[in-house]
Amino acid sequence: MLIAASLAALVLLAVVGVVAGGREITHRLVHAGCAVASIALLIGGLTHLGAGPGGSPAIVLPLGLPWMAAHFRLDNLSALFMVVVDLAAAAASIYGIGYCRHLPQVRRVTPFFPLFLFGMNAVLLADDAFMFLVSWEFMSLASWLMVLSDHKSAENRHAAVIYLVMAAFGTFCLLTSFGLMAGAGGAYTFAAMRQAELAAVPAFLVVLMAVLGAGSKAGLVPLHVWLPLAHPAAPSHVSALMSGVMTKVALYGLIRILFDLHGEVPWEWGAALMVIGGVSAVLGVLYALFQDDLKRLLAYSTVENVGVAVIGLGLGIAFKDAGEPALAALALVGGLYHIVNHSIFKTLLFLAAGAVISATGERRLSGLGGLLNRMPWTGTAALIGAAAISALPPLNGFVSEWLILQALFKGPGLPHWAMKFGVPVVGAMLALAGALAATCFVRAYGIVFLGRPRSLAAAQADLHPTPASMRWTMAVLALLCILLGALPVTVTDALSAVVQPMTGMHFAVSADLGWPWLSPVSSTRGSYSGTMLVMVGTALFAIAVVLAHGLGTRRVRRADAWDCGHREDIPETQYTGQSFSQPLRRVFGGSVFLARETVEMPEPGERSPARLSVRMIDPVWVGLYDPIVRAINFIADRVNRMQFLTVRGYLLMMFSTLVFMLLVVAWRQQP
């Protein structure tokens, strides 16, 4: 009831948003309304999760086409994702109350923001393919419109076009997947699809199309190309939702099809997903490492984190198919934990980026710096977010990565040789991605918040104080990063209940040692306790402070930076984002991105500066999309000629099509 009312309220708010016009107060009201509705939905999701396993009965509503009723249902999986979506949505909405004041194009955002939230929640609640796809399109189109909100910039228009193409492609794939599951009978409800028996080829196609469709929305390599363009183009609180949450809704679609509707996915798909996930993780973070645009960096890092979560899902499939439900549950809990975590810290980081951009008007790393002194709230919250996304204990990002690694370490026990050899390689990729993520965020955080300001705007950031609503949202999200890391057992217990119907077995990660120890597999296998680490770590920290202050002096003197005696006041002498990632560009750039560095030195005696220019090529774009675009252009040219045929020519075409169809029918009727 609460949920239905909130969803209705969101639609209503969208209408209000349309008529809002130029008055600032209405925009703030709409965002506040969205916040209230999301919090209501969040409570709805949480209460359902707390109530234990089992879904609510399906609700049939006479919506949509006259002969097709709309089915809705809330089970543990959708409740979990509802919590994920609406937690971030509530944060983004509250943040939006203060943020929309700084937004010039706010009139083109406000109407669609509630619709976007509505679409995401409706996808989670849908219990039939029709409602699912319609809501999916709501989500896509609303976000697309917001990507286009700042349509004056050519870059954004380009991003919007690519996004639209990829979204259409994704929906098409999902439509095919659902269509194959529904079969000729057209049983479009999820309940009927669960019962359906599929032959080998359609079963293969169902999974393939689901992976392509959901993968393109989630940003898996090589379908990620739209993501780093589109996510940063939207206003920051929308970017936060697109990156932090919409990718998760896509993963929800993947999980729903692979673990619920389809049910029996063979292990080869698990292996394929693990490889895709591993490649996405490594490539995503490498892309992120070389970005100069703060928001694009965050978007690429989303590709990485989605990859990490997908490794967990793929491993879950492989274990499930091999008859290891406990290990499958462990891998899935790890994957879902990472989904929850990423939605929190990515939202936090995007909101922090939004605060930085609205205070300085600058989103290039090379124009920022020294903001921790000028924006202490944002800086501190972003520090926690950066540490969490770098998978550092005792924060939440580490716990999920630890769980996935623990599951991976059991992977060589799988019976297939491909997995025995593949698992260590994927393990190495995951480890590499984790370490590179830390490098990436040391770079991003260090360049943006530390050091000396690299531009006047950054130096004067304290002239534009961050509104309280934005500050508090970030503080709460940062606190959640700490809590989810310090109390991991609470989270895994809830996730175990969600995973139970997917693996058919109840498995608690903390079963062996009890609270607060995580001990997957068994107590001698290796265990972790964020709670203990926090307690002991704090004690040691206190001892260190007391020792250092007790044995020595507490005096502090402020002075100029020493810098090995090179006294200078030019902030340009600092390391920049480009120079920070230069060693890694040398290591990975040459082979992965075909990076070429050219140095133009002036002739001796000339006064012109030397220039270092770097050219990097996106291998996915050049290798995959350019040929496709060329092929499409080629075909389009050919098809174009058909517009100028004679009447007889058109008749011939129709006739041959008819004969072809008849032949197909005749062939199909053979016993």
């Binding site: 040789w417 050899f421 290591v587 040459g590 082979s591």
Partner: protein, 222 residues
């Protein structure tokens, strides 16, 4: 777990040292370092043969060990050192593929040989499987070295590392006659001599040892 197990373990450890030396060959950037590493590999090979002679109680394997020690670990490296200095060959390794990628390819080849050996010898004891996998990896890495390194000297070293792999396989399997090893050893010597002559000839004609230049002359490249 017994005395037999330990002797197997030691044999494998020595075999793994040979393999490690093979991977080290791929890692080196200096010609002298390559040759020293090769000498080390031959030394490990001699140890492997000696250990097998001790374990299998097969005195003829001591001869194999001796051949490896004297020819491969001493004479050949000295000869190559001498050649390089005599010919004034450029001292750095010229790579056709970066070190990092070659190393990755090397590890992939090891994985491949493990994958190949396992099903073939499913019934054999773990001892044979492990030795075979090791030997095959060494052979493949030798081949890789020949493919990815341009300089003729490194190609010779790659070829001889390949031979080392074959001998490692021969000493690990029981009952391999001595003839095989001697012939292998001799073929190496012959190859050495041939390559030595080749160096002089190539040098005389092209004033370089870069295979690329030879190919250009042949018309393979423009």
């Amino acid at each position: 777990m017994g005395a037999g197990q330990i002797s197997y373990d030691v044999a494998h450890l020595i075999g793994a040292t040979v393999l490690m030396a093979g991977l080290q060959l791929l890692y080196q950037r200096r010609l002298f370092a390559v040759i020293n590493t090769f000498a080390f590999q031959a030394l490990a090979l001699a140890a492997a043969a000696g250990w097998q002679a001790h374990v299998q109680d097969a005195p003829h394997l001591y001869v194999t060990a001796g051949i490896a020690l004297v020819f491969k670990a001493m004479i050949v490296p000295f000869a190559l050192h001498w050649l390089i200095e005599k010919l004034g060959i450029h001292r750095s390794v010229e790579t056709a593929m970066s070190i990092g990628w070659t190393m990755m390819a090397g590890v992939a080849l090891v994985a491949l040989s493990i994958l190949l050996v396992l099903p073939v010898t499913a019934n054999a004891a773990a001892l044979t499987r492990e030795s075979l996998a090791l030997a095959m990896s060494v052979v493949l890495i030798g081949l890789l070295m020949m493919i990815t390194r341009r300089n003729a000297v490194t190609q010779v070293v790659g070829f001889m590392a390949l031979e080392n792999g074959l001998i490692l396989a021969a000493v690990s399997a029981k009952g391999m006659p001595l003839v095989v090893e001697i012939s292998v050893a001799f073929s190496v010597l012959v190859a050495m001599t041939l390559f030595g002559i080749f160096f002089f000839r190539i040098r005389e004609r092209f004033d370089t040892l870069d295979i690329n230049d030879v190919e250009t002359y042949r018309g393979d490249r423009q």
